[in-house]
Symmetry: C2
């Protein structure tokens, strides 16, 4: 991972006195025991199939939903919407640079809006955060401009004050579009972050998950000016289907795992990441922004 370096081989300089090479963050993840990998239940995955790209290549985006007790009102709605196949023939209709790609019903808020299924919950703003709980999985030692401190809980970045925990907005975070307060959205209109972590949205919008595979199919879409709404519907990217993975045939269910954020391996991985001492880096920060500690994800071996 030579960052913005070129592809050239590093210069070979003999350094006979050098201590044993420290393991890289990547090496540590590769050496993790199988027991450190947590399977993500298919019922916690949304699989979005976009229309093929201009080259005819398939585009699949996989979203991991937050675990309880975070944002369960909206997530319950989203599972209902998925099981109703409500998003089928929807679209990605808004792509604003350094901000979000938004998707759902391109006709929402018009007379042509697709009716929502019955029985969706109206979730209160109080659900943007939850009461703090004991034994957090991973506490991040980096200072944070938006919270007392930050951490990672079952694979998801979170922030804390004395009494509450809330999921944070990072790159690839998925949240719920809404109108002005006190509306909190249903979960029908969603966005994925494609730029600088918009942490100012924390506790202002429901975070419901994160894209764990295929974010590049959203982040590389053409931008529209201003707030990113395409002025011409022909520019929308059609959504063929969004399915809960548990509804797919067994052999089509993505089998994904995240590196347990409660594990020693994860702590070692973060330590190696923030204290890089390899031939590329000359200065190690020693700590990191919570949005700059990606939780390793893999396909089950």
């Amino acid at each position: 991972m030579t960052a913005a370096s070129t592809m050239a081989a590093p210069p070979q300089i003999a350094q006979p006195q050098q201590p044993a090479k420290p393991r890289s963050a990547g090496d540590i993840v590769k050496a993790a025991p199988a027991s450190d990998w947590v399977a993500i239940a298919p019922s916690d995955l949304l699989v979005m199939t976009l229309s093929p790209d201009t080259q005819g290549k398939a585009r699949q985006v996989i979203i991991q939903l937050l675990p309880p007790p975070f944002s369960q009102g909206w997530i319950g709605n989203m599972k209902k919407l998925a099981l109703a196949h409500w998003w089928d023939n929807g679209a990605v209709y808004r792509v604003q640079d350094n901000w979000v790609a938004q998707f759902g019903d391109p006709d929402e808020d018009t007379p042509q809006a697709k009716p929502l299924p019955a029985g969706l919950a109206v979730v209160p703003e109080s659900e943007y955060k939850i009461r703090t709980f004991d034994a957090p999985e991973f506490i991040n030692k980096g200072k944070d401009p938006y919270a007392s401190f930050t951490g990672i809980e079952r694979g998801f970045p979170v922030a804390y004050d004395d009494d509450y925990i809330w999921p944070t907005h990072c790159y690839a975070t998925v949240g719920v579009g809404r109108n002005n307060s006190p509306d909190t959205g249903t979960g029908a209109e969603l966005y994925a972050v494609i730029g600088t972590p918009p942490r100012q949205l924390d506790r202002n919008i429901a975070v419901v998950g994160r894209v764990i595979e295929g974010i590049e199919h959203l982040s590389s879409l053409p931008r529209a000016p201003g707030n990113g709404m395409y002025n011409d519907k022909a520019k929308n990217t059609p959504i063929q289907t969004i399915r809960l993975a548990s509804e797919l045939p067994q052999d089509q269910q993505p089998r994904l795992q995240y590196l347990s954020t409660a594990s020693q391996t994860f702590r070692d991985y973060v330590s190696a990441r923030v204290n890089r001492r390899d031939a590329f880096y000359i200065y190690a920060a020693g700590s990191a922004d919570i949005c700059n500690i990606p939780v390793p994800i893999r396909r089950a071996p």
Copy 2:
């Protein structure tokens, strides 16, 4: 700027006791006196013209170079490369999601590499930061995981420790590709950040400027897997030319301005941005990450 909200009009609720509506960050910038806008000299702008997109639409990317005394060794090289038209017929040859778009000579480090002009400086690693100076323009009160504190200096985000200042890596920051330390790169191979601010690169790589117009032409390019190098040169995006704006005919020189980061207007803009109290936001963070305070840029009126 209703964030990830929808396009719907806000609900109209009569609130007779409400105090005067606070000015938004956008309102404050619009009301700035002309004297708060600083013209960017054409000799501090690189204009990159990419090949037209698949729809035949022109793609221009404008980079503002850092002012002295930051990174002047590399920037001097870049001005020589631009005046030699060295980048013409180069390419964007690497696009890694949530990381960088890199450009220059797609054949570098091969026998077909384009020879560099004579007389380029070899810049030492000590130039990644500079000695601190008095009277910083804007100090950011947000806590920072990577530095003692942060600020903005003549339009550019910077970080500080007791003795030094250095330019930070944010979205759209432009830096110099290099091989392993102690190489620092010449300035011929450049990258622009297209994801989470990679602050761990601060003081490890030369920051030389930022894209102030047209970043979407880089951020929306197709991603390549792994480190983002396209495995097929046909996927590169050709660069037609990169010119110092001062070398262009007068009527083609972009006339751009930034909002003085020493001005009261800028302080008011930041304050409004971090203390949003409009109908969309219910919680204001009160401070912000240095990479989440975009410096307003405009075309000269």
